[in-house]
């Protein structure tokens, strides 16, 4: 069974039902139920026309809930008569639902959950697994999100920046699942569809950023261990994905309307471009970070995470102590966040101050909220301590 095809049909069938006058919440529920049926029955009895099957099943569910048998038949017939949509209509369907789900009325995580179900065609179970919550909790979160959207008009103007934010969040939360629940892959697929429907260079910037980052995912966690960028086996990187990301980024940058995703993608591209960590072009990376900071009027207050990341580039270009000064500039804004100490530790090690690096790594490990990353920081602390002892002798 082609699961990709089935998932791609979900937004099309939802919008077909919307055009027939169904409300979004009921249409989305009906298609989700039809999707679960399809995942169960198609492997043994694949339909000749998948789209017609899914539409029929969804209409059936919809009318089961609210309508008479006669109304159901009329509706089925009308949907059957509808011609197969072309690529443009498919992109429009996806866009319509993306804008609907990425509502500023929803918390970003609810918007992500709803987008994954209504646009990416994931089941509630799959989304719950990816977020590590019970299925009933995820189902409730999605139905609350839909209740919030009930009175929102379908053609209300929406901001593409909000859609990009939701897709980016879907991507960043997506690295925790196994291959099957790889939300990152789903986020990439949805962003590809958005690229077909929107000429905005930032949309391509986000797609490039995702590809250039996703290309490293096999090297990032090896044998249950987090491997930092400078120690990754670069032969494990997906070089086709990198090439595609670079091509898309170049096209977007050519339009001279830069936004933060394009700039972040450029930084990722420079990392990807280095054959070894030592060959990383830090001075180019630093100038892109300067451009990233120029996106906000007061970067220390508005975008402290970017200032902190830039400190590493400063450390490599202007020396570790210059980088450490940058960390101190932003530390009060990020009070107590473990990444401040993790960055300090990295720069102290770069400066050769191993005892101080060990202490900063240990402090970072204490405050870190992820097991994988904490274990990495603990190992770094121990390695720095051991190396410091050898230096003493």
């Amino acid at each position: 069974m082609d699961e990709g095809l089935l998932r791609a049909l979900v937004p099309q069938v939802i919008t077909a039902l919307l055009r027939r006058g169904a409300d979004f919440a009921s249409a989305e529920d009906a298609v989700q139920e039809a999707l679960v049926d399809a995942l169960r029955t198609w492997p043994t009895g694949p339909p000749r026309d998948p789209r017609a099957w899914l539409t029929r099943a969804a209409v059936h569910r919809l009318t089961d809930a609210v309508r008479s048998e006669a109304a159901r038949r009329r509706r089925e017939e009308r949907v059957d008569e509808e011609p197969e949509p072309g690529p443009t209509e498919q992109a429009d369907d996806t866009l319509l639902l993306l804008f609907l789900c990425a509502s500023p009325q929803l918390s970003p995580t609810s918007a992500v959950a709803l987008t994954l179900r209504a646009v990416a065609g994931l089941t509630t179970r799959e989304i719950a697994d990816a977020f590590l919550v019970p299925e009933a909790t995820m189902a409730q979160r999605i139905s609350r999100a839909k209740a919030t959207l009930r009175d929102r008009s379908l053609d209300a103007p929406a901001d593409v920046a909000v859609v990009l934010h939701v897709l980016h969040l879907a991507y960043t939360t997506g690295h925790q699942g196994d291959e099957r629940h790889d939300l990152a892959r789903e986020a990439i697929r949805l962003t590809r569809q958005l690229v077909l429907a929107s000429p905005e260079p930032e949309v391509r910037g986000l797609l490039a950023l995702m590809l250039l980052h996703h290309a490293r995912h096999r090297a990032r966690v090896v044998g249950g261990r987090l491997v930092p960028l400078d120690e990754q086996d670069r032969a494990l990187w997906d070089h086709d994905e990198i090439a595609e990301g670079v091509r898309i980024l170049q096209g977007a940058l050519g339009e001279q309307r830069r936004g933060r995703f394009q700039v972040e993608a450029a930084i990722a591209a420079l990392h990807d471009d280095a054959t070894t960590a030592a060959e990383t072009d830090w001075s180019q990376i630093l100038s892109w970070y300067d451009e990233l900071l120029a996106q906000s009027p007061d970067p220390v207050r508005d975008d402290p995470a970017a200032v902190l990341s830039r400190a590493v580039a400063v450390g490599h270009v202007l020396g570790a102590s210059a980088g450490l000064l940058e960390v101190e500039r932003v530390a009060p804004e990020l009070k107590g966040r473990y990444r401040v100490d993790a960055t300090r530790a990295y720069l102290l090690r770069l400066a050769g101050d191993l005892p101080e690096a060990a202490e900063a790594y240990a402090r970072a490990a204490e405050r870190c909220t992820s097991t994988l990353e904490r274990d990495h920081l603990v190992r770094q602390a121990a390695l720095a301590r051991a190396a410091a002892r050898v230096n003493d002798v």
């Binding site: 918390s107 995580t109 609810s110 977020f131 590590l132 919550v133 019970p134 009933a136 909790t137 995820m138 189902a139 409730q140 979160r141 999605i142 609350r144 991507y171 960043t172 939360t173 997506g174 690295h175 925790q176 990152a184 980052h213 987090l226 930092p228 960028l229 990392h271 990341s309 990444r339 909220t369 992820s370 097991t371 994988l372 990353e373 904490r374």
Partner: protein
């Protein structure tokens, strides 16, 4: 979304603003109201899509450790059997922010005690470890 444990304690933690007698000494109706409130918190968390788990623990406790090769496990009542920290149960939640976890903890702490007055019980918040953010480089 971050996940948190909201831990309720039989004892341990900071001193209560108004001391409360142990529950067996309460009016039965106050106990019912207290239990109903705890269940209401479960329903509220489920309804909002924030619920992961909720459990209560019995008061019996014992400390166990490996006794060495061929030896029986070593057992202990703990260093302070009468006064030490004793967890009573928890709510595990998945919420948008730490602020929301604080809000829920404070709400749990408003649970009715004797005479229907709030207990002002101390609730301990602990974050559950999560998968690493994908942008750590």
């Amino acid at each position: 979304m971050p996940k948190y444990l909201l831990l309720k304690h039989y004892r341990g933690g900071p001193e209560l603003p108004t001391p409360v007698p142990p529950m067996p000494e309460w009016d039965p109706a106050d106990i019912e109201a207290h239990m109903a409130f705890l269940e209401h918190v479960n329903v509220m968390l489920k309804e909002r899509g924030e619920w992961l788990d909720a459990q209560g623990l019995s008061m019996d406790q014992e400390w166990i450790r490996y006794g060495g090769p061929g030896a029986a496990p070593v057992r202990s009542d703990g260093p302070h059997p009468e006064t030490g920290d004793l967890v009573a149960g928890w709510y595990a939640i998945d919420v948008d922010s730490y602020d929301r976890a604080v809000e829920i903890a404070a709400y749990v702490s408003s649970e009715p005690g004797p005479g229907g007055k709030p207990l002002y019980e101390w609730i301990q918040i602990r974050q559950i470890m999560e998968a690493p953010p994908s942008y750590a480089e």
